[in-house]
């Protein structure tokens, strides 16, 4: 007979998997890494001591684990590339380009943000986590969360041609180091083969 945690794991994985993959894709800025991120987050959540008893609670834990792991994964890859470059062991693989698919334009825009900006935007904008909760999940200061969220939203709005959803972010937008003219503007009609 399956233990309670096994039953809960099965329920979360079966009932919430597509939504978790979508969340992971937004946080990672890519659909290709999303399934792996979800599986790693499921393992991290259920192997630990988290106190949850319902599918909703468990899903919330998994979503947060996805966000923190997405940042760690980017860091790990960056380290590996640096090591490879230093050792001249292997050529550095190019960044993958998001293939055509659902939500492509939004994903391409998100991919242009830094991993921390992306995670902050998704957790604050879509998960409705507070600044304090987001800071805890991503191991950042609250000030950093405000800054990343503000910067990320501003860049997204600029790229996608929208206005930010969160006008009440308390830290003013930091002057971007990237001139606006250099930020690619993505619309469904531009560069359909994908932009680097």
């Amino acid at each position: 007979m399956a233990r309670p945690w096994e039953q809960l794991l099965d329920q979360v994985a079966r009932e919430r998997y597509p939504r978790l993959v979508a969340h992971a894709a937004l946080v990672a800025g890519s659909t290709s890494d999303a399934p792996d991120l979800v599986q790693e987050a499921l393992i991290a959540t259920f192997r630990g001591r988290a106190r949850f008893t319902t599918v909703e609670q468990a899903e919330a834990y998994v979503r947060r684990a996805i966000a923190s792991r997405a940042i760690d994964e980017v860091r790990r890859r960056k380290r590996e590339r640096l090591v490879a470059l230093r050792a001249a062991a292997e050529p550095t693989p190019p960044d993958t380009v998001e293939p055509p698919g659902p939500g492509r334009d939004v994903l391409r825009a998100l991919a242009l943000l830094s991993p921390r900006e992306r995670a902050c935007v998704v957790l604050r904008q879509m998960e409705d986590l507070s600044v304090t909760e987001t800071a805890h999940v991503l191991n950042l200061s609250e000030g950093a969360v405000k800054r990343y969220t503000s910067d990320g939203l501003a860049r997204l709005a600029q790229i996608l041609g929208t206005h930010p959803h969160h006008p009440d972010e308390t830290v003013p937008v930091r002057p971007t180091t990237t001139p606006a003219v250099q930020v690619p503007r993505l619309t469904p009609t531009t560069n359909p083969e994908g932009a680097r």
Binding site: W5, E6, L9, D10, A13, R14, Y17, P18, R19, V21, A22, H23, A25, L26, T31, A34, P35, Q39, L42, I43, F46, R47, G48, R49, A50, R51, I71, D72, R75, R76, R79, E80, L82, V83, A87, A89, G101, P102, G103, D105, V106, L107, V121, V122, Q125, M126, N139, L153, L156, A157, L160, G161, T162, H163, P164, H165
Partner: protein, 465 residues
Amino acid sequence: MNDLGQLLHGARDEIAEATGPIDERELTRVRGTVRRARIQRHTFESVGAAACAGVLGLGAWSLTSSDSSTPVDPATRSATNGPTSAPSPTTDATTEPTTEPTTAADDGPAVRAAQIDDATVLARLSAPRTGERWFDEAIEASDALDALFTADELANGPDYQLTLVGDREASAIYALSFPGVQEDSVAWGARVELYEIDEDGPRAIVCPSARTTDACASDFSSSKAVEDRDTFYDTLTLPASLALGDGWALSTEATRAEANRVGGMSLPAAGSGERLEDVATFGPLTVARRDVVSNLDGLRSSSYVVRTPFGSMIPVADADVPGLDYLDITWDDGVDRSTRGADGDWANYAQAPAVGTCSTAQFSVENSHDAAQWRTAGRTADGRDVVVPAPGNPLAAAVHDWQLENSGTIDPDSGDTLTGLDAGYRFATTDDFLAAQSLYGVQGPGGEWHLQLRPEATNIVWECA
């Protein structure tokens, strides 16, 4: 203008709708990984309590440190991977815990000494005074990494690998190792470090030997652990001599003097091309031959290592392997070849002839040794016969040709790649190679001939990377 929130939510819904259910095989893998992790967590949380009633070990320490806000599952000893008091790596691993009481080799206090005779060392290997118990199988313990490192270190440092390997009194014993590729030099990439964790927190065990004259590790990686120079283990104390039969023995004097060999290194990874063959056991320690891929057909190339009961291996230093000290050979032709002819530590001892300079192999053995192809030409410092190829021995030409053809370096002035003799290889012909007594053999255990190559005859390399 579109609302950003609508776009984000719309994208999420689109992706979710296009995503199918989780693959059942993946779900099975996730479930299995979680189950193993939970079993492991229960096991290491229970170690302290099980070893010493009334004393809370790691579980209690964990509760008061990083994870105090969450509940702890009841500590239960796993039915698998239990500790044993005197494991033997050469026997099949058992999943049943051994609870037989240990018979002490002597009743005195467990204190270190500068010199310990081998009879005592061997007796204590099987019946340690020091109370450690090693698990038959190491248990993955990445959940405990936060006891050794900060969150920032774990996020930005190497991908540490932590395993629970045993216990001692109220302490759990962990082995920390590193991946082969990481940000720092490969020299320490495979190093294994030992830690104990109890209710007071983690300690780095830097002097595991019962001998005060053996080396201690010069550093350790954990930022949270304190250095522990007092804890030692009878089961990790190497005998001064490791007899492998036929009056043939490895010394451990140089091995024990090296600070970077204290905890050993990780066992060869699957797919590395390396293989371990156990050749003798000394309580929980096992001497093994570490085979590497030979570059010449018909030759097996190996070095000696000592396998520890916690799953690492300590390479036996070249100075401790009979026959590798080329400079001390007395030659029958009267020529003094005791002066080192090349710079660098690598030039102190001979190496296996069927591999390159950067290999760890210490000797090669022929698949079939024909005594008629060899002749006696000298003696080692400890009185062993030294043989060299007889005229026409095809192995000499094969070894010479491979070492010559695989010599290469970079001209420091022009940056050009240089090969063969241009790279600085010393012997243009097989005759030159033979005249310098470059290839020789010394009989090892079991009567087999360990073939070796003098340092100056190994291939030239720009660097070992």
